[in-house]
């Protein structure tokens, strides 16, 4: 009977785990919906700015802002957006793999990489792996604020301004749908104006106070908004990944319980049969 009792406690403990994973799944599902809404809410700003930058870049061909100019790459800045917490499947690891691959590619070309990390997981990973970390921010929570990111981004933009880095890339997760999140590497700086903007009609803005400050602010805001968007998207990715991971954990727990229940039943039955046969044989002996 000892075996049966052990199995029973095991079933109980798995049931407890299942309760937790179920709860986490549901929490992640509701948070994911909110994160998705936030993700959509950030789109218009970035789109608008991109349009304006396109216009300005077209209209003011004679003024070349350093952010719009390609230069020889000697050092690369990399912003990596990860989550603060774990239990979200392979989301972070896939992202780091991509980041490390990109870093190796640069290294092969003799280009060093400066890292700027968002989220606890990236910090933990690159602490172990090593890497030149120049800025980091974590504990952004489920509703990241622009305020918390400004400093981190400015570190990289300053480095770009001063020529310490010649290219700025962003490594982030792309929210494809609930089941799929894809790590992706995008180049933030230098900014290549999209070609599809209309070239037919040439007009220029009236600037106040002047072209340069306006363009400066525009470009800075644009980079900030892209990074912010990445962070918000990452929250949605995290929640989706966690939901899926927790769902499969709950399902696994269910399967385990089913199997253990069968084993338990058999053990119980065997014990009863043994007892009966003992009684019967005892009675026969009398």
């Amino acid at each position: 009977m000892a075996g049966a009792k052990e199995i029973r406690t095991q079933i109980k403990s798995i049931k407890n785990t299942q309760k937790i994973t179920k709860a986490m799944e549901m929490v992640a599902a509701s948070k994911m919906r909110k994160a998705q809404d936030r993700m959509l809410a950030t789109r218009p700003y970035a789109e608008k700015i991109r349009q304006v930058i396109g216009h300005v870049a077209m209209a003011k061909a004679e003024y070349k802002h350093p952010y719009l100019e390609e230069r020889e790459v000697k050092r690369v800045g990399m912003i990596i957006i990860s989550t603060d917490r774990g239990l979200c499947g392979g989301l972070n690891i896939n992202l780091f793999k991509k980041a490390v691959l990109a870093m190796r590619e640069w290294h092969d070309k003799g280009v060093d990489v400066d890292l700027c990390l968002v989220g606890n997981k990236a910090l933990g990973f690159f602490k172990r792996l090593g890497g030149n970390v120049v800025g980091k921010v974590n504990h952004l929570g489920d509703q990241p604020r622009m305020n918390d990111l400004i400093g981190t981004i400015k570190v990289m933009l300053d480095a770009y301004d001063e020529g310490r880095i010649d290219r700025l890339v962003l490594v982030e997760n792309e929210f494809v749908n609930t089941m799929t999140q894809k790590p992706r590497v995008t180049t933030l700086l230098p900014l290549v104006p999209s070609e599809e903007d209309e070239l037919k009609h040439h007009w220029d803005y009236i600037y106040e106070p002047d072209t340069k400050p306006v363009l400066d602010t525009l470009l800075t805001r644009y980079i900030e908004s892209v990074v912010y968007q990445g962070v918000v998207e990452n929250v949605a990715c995290e929640m989706a990944a966690r939901m899926v991971a927790m769902k499969s954990a709950s399902d696994n727990a269910g399967d385990l319980i089913k199997e253990l229940q069968l084993v338990y039943n058999k053990a119980r039955q065997a014990a009863i049969t043994q007892e009966i046969s003992e009684i019967v044989s005892g009675a026969a002996a009398v």
Partner: protein, 141 residues
């Protein structure tokens, strides 16, 4: 029916206002500007202040506070790209320094994690001691 144009007020975090209007007044760097329909292309930096959107003749007005940003004007569309926070150069500078300091701290100071564990251990110990004292008190009563 007076002429109207479309107004979008967006920040990086959300879309704040979207609709048609007869006039928009915004606090540009060089003073307040009023934008009417068919204004020529115009782009301006904004100071912290109030953006007023006049919707109709009856005087219906929306007033939105922004902490700076950019105003972009096309003949039939006006966009206000609002900042989400009060921005000042020195403030940004401080934020940047803070981010760097955090990175250095996290990398050099490996004790951080241990301190957490130590604090937790101390907390548990203190809690246990408190329980003990409580028990003793009950006994003496």
């Amino acid at each position: 029916m007076a002429m109207t144009f479309h107004v979008d007020i967006v920040s990086a975090e959300e879309s704040i206002y979207s609709g048609t209007a007869q006039m928009v007044v915004a606090p540009a760097e060089g003073g307040e500007v009023g934008i009417l329909p068919r204004h020529s292309q115009y782009i301006a930096q904004l100071k912290p202040g109030e953006v007023r959107v006049k919707v109709s003749d009856s005087g219906e007005e929306h007033s939105i506070f922004i902490s700076g940003g950019l105003l972009e004007v096309q003949p039939h569309v006006v966009t206000v790209l609002a900042d989400t926070a009060v921005r000042a150069k020195d403030l940004d500078e401080a934020e940047a320094k803070e981010a760097m300091r955090r990175a250095e701290e996290a990398l050099s100071d490996r004790k951080a994690d241990f301190d957490y564990a130590k604090a937790q251990a101390e907390l548990i110990e203190a809690a246990a001691r408190l329980r003990m004292i409580e028990k003793l008190r009950r006994h003496t009563r």
